[in-house]
Each structure stands twice: as C-alpha cells, then as structure tokens.
C-alpha cells in the first residue's frame, strides 16, 4: 500500500468526520441514540472492510493506516470507532484462524458491512480473567448448543453476528485449553440481547447483555474447525485491539486539545486572551506533548504489527500511555474552558466522559502493566 493512497484514504475519512460527524455527534450522544445514518455512511465509505484483506473483498489497509482512521473517527465521535473495532477484530480472527470455507462465507459480507460483527468474551463475573468464563458449548449432532451469558457486548443489538468464546471442555486443565470461538449469527433461535447498558460515555452505540439459552450453532461455525483453540485465537487479536483503543484515545485527546487551544485564544480574562497567561500555556504545552507522544507510540506499535513482528509490548505501552494521556488531556481541556467546559454547550464534557473507557476496554490498564512487565522481564532475563 503506498503512502499517497494511505493519505487519500485518511483524508476521505477526515472529511466525513468534519462534514457529517462533528456537527451531530454531541446531540446524538446526549440522546444516547444509535447513529444509523452515520453507520450507513461508513458502510458506503467502505470502513467495515478496512483491514479485511483485498482478496476477501476488503481494503486491506495496514494497521498504521487503520490506527489513523480510528483516530479520525474518534476525533469526531469515539462511539463510531467502536462500531468498527470489534467487527474488525472478529474479521481478524476469521482471517487468521478461520477455515477457507468460513473466510469465503463471512469476510466478503463483513467487508461490505452487510454482516456486522462483534466480540463476546466478557461475562458478568469474568472480564480480565477470560479463562474463567462459564458459557459452555456442547456438541449435539451437527450443532453445538451454547448456554451462558455475556456482558458489555458492543454491537450486540445492531450487529448481525458475534464471535463468542465458550467452553467446549469446561474441565480442561489449564482452563484456557477448553475455550473455543464460534461465529454466531443472530437468529430467532437466539442469542437474546436482553438489555442495553446505560453508560457514562461511549453512548449511542449498543453495549449489551446477551443471553444464550441453548442456542444451536452449526459446527461449521466453530472458528478454525478444531476445539480448544479459542484462547489463542483471541489473544492473537489483542495486539490489534490495543492499537485500536490507543488510536481512539489519541483521537479523543486530539479533539480535546483542539477545543482547548481554540477557546484559549478567544476567551479574554484580565485584559488578554487566556492563552497569553502562562498557566494556560503550560497546560497547552503539556497536553500537546502527551498527545504527540501517544500518537508516536501508536504509530510505532502499528509499524511493528505491519512488519509482522510481535508487538504485545509496544501495543500495551501505546494503549496504557495513550488512554491515560487522553484522560488527563480531556480533564485539562475542561480546565482551560472553565465553566463552559463543564456544560453540554461544548464537546469537552463528552471527551471527558469517553476517555475512561479506553483505560478499561481491551484489557484494563492494570492488565496492560502486567503484560508489559512480563514481557520486559522476558527480554531482560538475567
């Protein structure tokens, strides 16, 4: 993929964000309304196929470009990146671990956005500790029958399918060896999306509780065709997920910074624009520096991923740093805007409410620190 092409693609998405997203984002978010029209536009644009390889009907952009696209979407409205992210993680798992038949059956339709996916790992009692999930999949003839419940599942209501982690062997030791992944297409036989969760931020997009009450899933939908591979399959997609979340944090932080630096030149206090007060300048400089560092960490992790190298360390660092930077930058932006920043008249309050999700999703930042430390100790073993 050449540079000019990547730039054109990023420009096209930037334009979409400036023209169509920014004018309506806060309004939709406050009403917690699903952005059907914007999602339709994203379909037209081809975003649902961004990282799906060209031979399966996608755009096949690299992860560096993908990260920039997610940054752009999040600069407008972070929830839109959520619509794409878990869909493409599911596609990633199918691309890298699915059978040829599964790739042909799912990927082209996913690339067109006709089939829209999500990822269902988390359960009411198990988030970070994926191995302790309780959803089980029992073989019954040509089907597996799934029972259990999933929690916090993004895209569950408006998507058409989910990549579901379930135990095909609940007593396996180690526990992860009993986990398998299924491509589950929603039908009248289930699963049931029992409720949408009300959230602090990241509104508009559906994050749901999903119930599996003896839902039959064709054995042909066991991803990769062999049991017990699920944990490995999910882990392989985590680097991508973390790069994505880090890129979203950069986008939200960018938006917060832009709001702050614009406002600081318009607002006058004590006879001069507040950007002339040194205390405000210190904040602006600090915000921009963290933002730049975060963006470079994301680019670095993505570059390694594109080169086919292992990047769990870099992706973990990018996710950890960028999400913390985003939380700080959005709070600082609120300081710069003073009272207005606290009102819904300006989008900064939305950035501030969206920021914490990036510290939690795709592995909490504490888990990132564990991953980073574990890898560091491997690399620096004496």
């Amino acid at each position: 993929m050449d540079e000019v092409l990547d730039r054109d693609i990023i420009d096209a998405v930037r334009r979409f964000v400036d023209r169509d997203v920014i004018p309506v984002a806060s309004d939709l978010e406050h009403r917690d309304e699903y952005p059907h029209a914007l999602v339709a536009r994203m379909k037209e644009l081809g975003l649902f196929g961004a990282t799906i390889p060209a031979e399966h009907g996608g755009l096949g952009v690299g992860f560096g470009t993908y990260a920039r696209l997610m940054e752009e979407l999040s600069r407008g409205w972070m929830s839109l990146a959520g619509v794409i992210n878990s869909h493409l993680i599911m596609a990633y798992i199918i691309t890298h671990h699915g059978t040829a038949e599964q790739k042909a059956r799912f990927l082209p339709a996913m690339a067109r956005g006709e089939k829209r996916g999500g990822l269902a790992l988390t359960e009411p009692h198990a988030g970070s500790d994926v191995q302790s999930i309780r959803t089980v999949a029992k073989r019954a003839g040509e089907d597996y029958v799934l029972s259990g419940s999933k929690m916090f599942i993004t895209n569950a209501r408006h998507g058409t399918m989910l990549a579901v982690a379930a135990k095909t062997n609940p007593t396996a030791k180690p526990a992860y060896a009993g986990i398998s992944m299924f491509a589950v297409e929603k039908s009248e036989r289930g699963p049931t999306v029992s409720r949408n969760l009300k959230k602090l931020g990241y509104k508009g997009i559906d994050t749901c509780e999903v119930l599996f009450e003896d839902v039959p899933v064709p054995a042909a939908n066991l991803i990769g065709g062999a049991e017990g591979q699920g944990f490995k399959q999910v882990m392989s997609a985590l680097e991508v997920g973390r790069i994505n979340v880090a890129a979203r944090a950069v986008g939200v932080a960018q938006a917060a910074f832009e709001s702050a630096i614009r406002y600081s030149q318009q607002r006058v206090a004590f006879g001069k624009p507040i950007c002339q007060h040194q205390a405000v300048q210190l904040m602006l400089a600090d915000m921009a520096t963290r933002l730049e560092a975060a963006r470079l960490l994301v680019a670095n992790a993505a570059r390694k991923k594109d080169a086919g190298e292992r990047c769990d360390l870099e992706a973990g660092m990018a996710k950890l740093f960028a999400s913390e930077a985003c939380a700080k930058i959005s709070l600082d932006a609120m300081r710069v805007l003073g009272g207005y920043g606290f009102t819904v008249e300006f989008p900064v309050e939305r950035f501030y409410r969206d920021a914490p999700l990036m510290m939690i999703g795709e592995g909490t930042n504490e888990i990132q620190a564990l991953v980073i430390a574990r890898r560091l100790l491997e690399l620096h073993a004496i």
Partner: protein
C-alpha cells in the same frame, strides 16, 4: 455521452485565509487544498448522467503537479480518466479557457460541465469564454439538467427566479449550488482511482497564447469584524436595527 469536467484546486472553504503582508497573494502554509466545490457538483452531475445513460466522464485540470491530488479525488468519486495540463505559472481565465478549448477539440465531448465559478477568485468567466470559443450553446448557473436524445434542458437560477432553456448538444453547462449534493469518494473508490489513467500534457505544447491579459495588483483582507453590542430592550433593538443598521 462523453462528458468533460474541468477541475480547479482551491483552498478548503473551511480554511482561514491569510493575505500576505505585501498583498501579492495568500499564505499557503497550513492551507488544505480541495476540489472547487462548484466543480465537485459538476463531477457529481456528470457521474449521475453517466449512471443513467452510460458514457465516459473525463476530468481536466490546468495546473501544477500537486493538482493530481484533486484529479485523483475526482477519479475516486467515479470519473473514468483525467488529464492534467501542466503549467507551473498561474494563468488567467482567458488562457485557461483557451487551453480547455484545445482539450475539448481533441476530446470531442458531448457536453462540458464546469463550476459556475471557483471559490478562490470568483471570476465566473471560464465557462462563458469556452462556449464562445467553441461556438457552443451555454447554460450557466444550472440547478437542473435533463436530456432527451441530443437535446438538453437546463433550469437556470437567475436573479429573482428560474429560467428554463433548451438547446442541442454539444454544449456548456455551469453548475450552481443547488444542482446536487456531491457524493463522497469511497475508500474502495480511492483504491480503484490509483489504477485509472491520469495523463499529463505540458500547457505550452498546445500552441495556445498563454500571456496573461490580467494582472492581480493587490489583495486586501476583508475588514475585521466589529465586536457585538448588547442592547437593553426589544425597543432599543428595533431602534438600532432601524436607525443604525438600517435593515428594517
């Protein structure tokens, strides 16, 4: 139907334009460049015509190498191929029209659709000049374009209302704002555009007199907006609007 659409590269309308201190031009650092919005409408119209009745949409730009970007965007929207007439010097409207006339003679389009004006210097001249040079009918400020065989009917936006004109092809149409809403270049479209033909021709190879007849002497930025003012009551507001602003 073969449709030729001239395209100009202009600063993004959302960019803040700063005039250089000596008034010789605008500061171009930090300026984002886009297709002239009226030309985008022209491309959209051409694509719709092609989608309805088949044919080919050819873009043409007169400018520097960087103008490829805008041509590529047009190709990504769906145009079939593009021609860049390379000129390093900035040309005036007459020279542009002459070059376009040459290209038209060579390409033999059934219709040329242009923006009614470019949003940078607002000349509103090229379409009219081109019609004169080619001896073709013209319909400027179009808000609706329809065809029946070789006959074209255009609704024009004129002062105080609409005017409907009909004429035979080949012809020139220039677009007004309400003609259509241009589509986005989709990401797959952008990828396909990379493989489409983008031919470069040096402007001075076309045997056209390019000597400028027009010289920009000086640019002045618009006056700074005055700060607003608070009034105490509706009565005072009405007074001020009537006596000072003289708008009611």
């Amino acid at each position: 139907m073969k449709i030729l659409v001239p395209v100009k590269r202009v600063p993004d309308p959302a960019t803040t334009i700063r005039v250089l201190p000596d008034g010789s031009g605008i500061a171009t650092d930090n300026v984002k460049w886009v297709i002239n919005p009226f030309d985008e409408i022209a491309i959209e119209e051409a694509l719709r015509i092609k989608e309805k009745q088949g044919g080919e949409v050819v873009l043409v730009a007169v400018g520097q190498q960087t103008w490829q970007e805008q041509l590529r965007t047009g190709l990504a929207m769906g145009a079939d191929r593009a021609i860049l007439v390379r000129s390093e010097a900035a040309l005036d409207t007459l020279a542009i029209a002459r070059l376009l006339a040459k290209i038209a003679e060579e390409q033999k389009p059934d219709i040329i659709i242009l923006g009614k004006q470019a949003i940078d210097d607002d000349s509103n001249q090229v379409g009219q000049m081109l019609a004169e040079m080619l001896g073709w009918p013209q319909a400027t400020f179009a808000s609706k374009v329809e065809f029946q065989d070789r006959k074209c009917t255009v609704v024009r936006e004129v002062d105080g209302g609409l005017e409907t004109v009909a004429f035979d092809l080949p012809a020139i149409v220039t677009t007004d704002l309400r003609l259509n809403e241009p589509r986005y270049a989709s990401l797959p479209g952008i990828m396909k555009a990379r493989k489409k033909e983008l031919k470069e021709i040096p402007a001075d190879s076309l045997g056209v007199d390019l000597t400028p007849k027009l010289k920009i002497k000086k640019l002045d930025p618009p006056p700074k907006r005055q700060a607003g003012r608070k009034v105490a009551s509706v009565e005072e507001l009405v007074q001020v609007l009537h006596n000072e602003a003289k708008v009611i």
